[in-house]
Symmetry: C2
Subunit: 233 residues, 2 copies
């Protein structure tokens, strides 16, 4: 769309400046995570895919092994942070107002309010949105896309940037499979078409089915991240 | 976030200019709809709420009574337009690329490719996103929010702008209610908290349950829109 007083080239330049500025903040967050041995994951999905339920389940199962903290992004409400805090884990809620994603600057400010977490896990739950969060690096080790199987098979093809930016796809609410016409194999094929390297796990945050494989993925990737950080010292 | 070379006031001004320019195009679309007696609805929701299945069902049931056309918005693929065309209705697919919503300018271009539809219905299916489409008027008579009951109760509170901007809320996939822990009354209460005037219908696009009430809503609102247009002549 034409914007008065701005050429199209200038609009593209502004977008590039915003992303470049974000990348600077993301690099700062990443350096902070490396220094503290924190393994950070950025959870992205549609609204209502079950991210918070998944995090509550993971924290409950893993909190005796690691310090865990959570940063929650939503347009409004502190509902999700309150659900997280009920597990005993610290959580910071960021409200984005009219904004459609977290950015690295917001995350940097939230980090200042969290306790030190040497060797811990940081879960960042982004605003529910399959478009905007794809372009914004928050400094995380990996983006994890969560797709509820109630959303249908074609989401990776229709929102390819998000699935291309993610290293793991969690197909959630697998307990509902008997009640849906859902083609699991087709969904995985579509995800691999936009991202041949994406790993895929099927889970139910509600029943716990498949969650141990997700925890094993976290352990393996966190160990790899720490080994890489040690080698870089 | 700070953007190099732009003050915060300038960023706000640019956003205002974009919305003002959009509103100009939306007014043109609205005048075109009024002149043709077209009743246009803008369907907004999360990805995977079942909008396309809902439109296919509605077109199948209503196409003998009205000319119907569809404009489809997605980041990528023409999947949805193809599903619509299988009903016999004309459909134009708009791919937004990295964009997170349709705008009135895109819709104006799509209208040029559709046949004239004197006294017809135009269904616009927006990009699946509970944030960005809220601010963009496309010239429609009403925004219709579709919420799958698999997404949980709290979406109206967490994405209030979308539910405030919508005149009708369709709670879809009601056939799954026996398999979910879903509080229908709480969801309706939350929607009315952000928008006291919103009308709410429960439907299953898959089984057809509740769809006649949606068709009655369309007939009533379309008649009211035509009466208002006649009175304005």
């Amino acid at each position: 769309m034409h914007v008065p007083g701005l050429t199209q080239a200038r609009v593209v330049q502004i977008e590039r400046d915003i992303l470049s500025k974000n990348d600077g903040y993301a690099a700062e967050n990443r350096a902070r995570f490396a220094a503290a041995g924190t393994f950070a994951l950025n959870f992205v999905s549609s609204p209502g895919s079950g991210k918070t339920t998944l995090l509550v389940k993971a924290i409950t199962d893993l909190k005796d092994q690691h310090p865990i903290a959570v940063i929650e992004g939503d347009q409004q409400t502190a509902n999700d942070a309150e659900r997280i805090r009920a597990t005993g884990a610290p959580a910071i809620q960021i409200n984005t107002g009219k904004g459609c994603h977290l950015d690295a600057h917001m995350v940097g400010h939230a980090l200042e309010q969290l306790p030190p977490m040497q060797g811990g896990l940081l879960f960042i739950e982004n605003v529910g949105n399959l478009v905007c969060p794809a372009a914004f690096d928050l400094g995380e080790a990996h983006k994890v896309a969560v797709l509820s199987i109630t959303e249908g098979e074609d989401k990776p093809l229709k929102y390819p940037h998000m699935f291309a930016a993610s290293d793991l796809l969690l197909l959630n609410k697998i307990d509902l499979l008997p009640h849906l016409d859902f083609d699991l194999a087709a969904t995985i094929e579509y995800a691999r078409r936009v991202n041949p390297k994406i790993e895929v796990l099927t889970v139910s945050a509600k029943t716990g089915e498949g969650m141990p494989a997700f925890y094993a993925w976290i352990a393996k990737r966190a160990a790899a991240a720490r080994a890489a950080a040690t080698a870089a010292e």
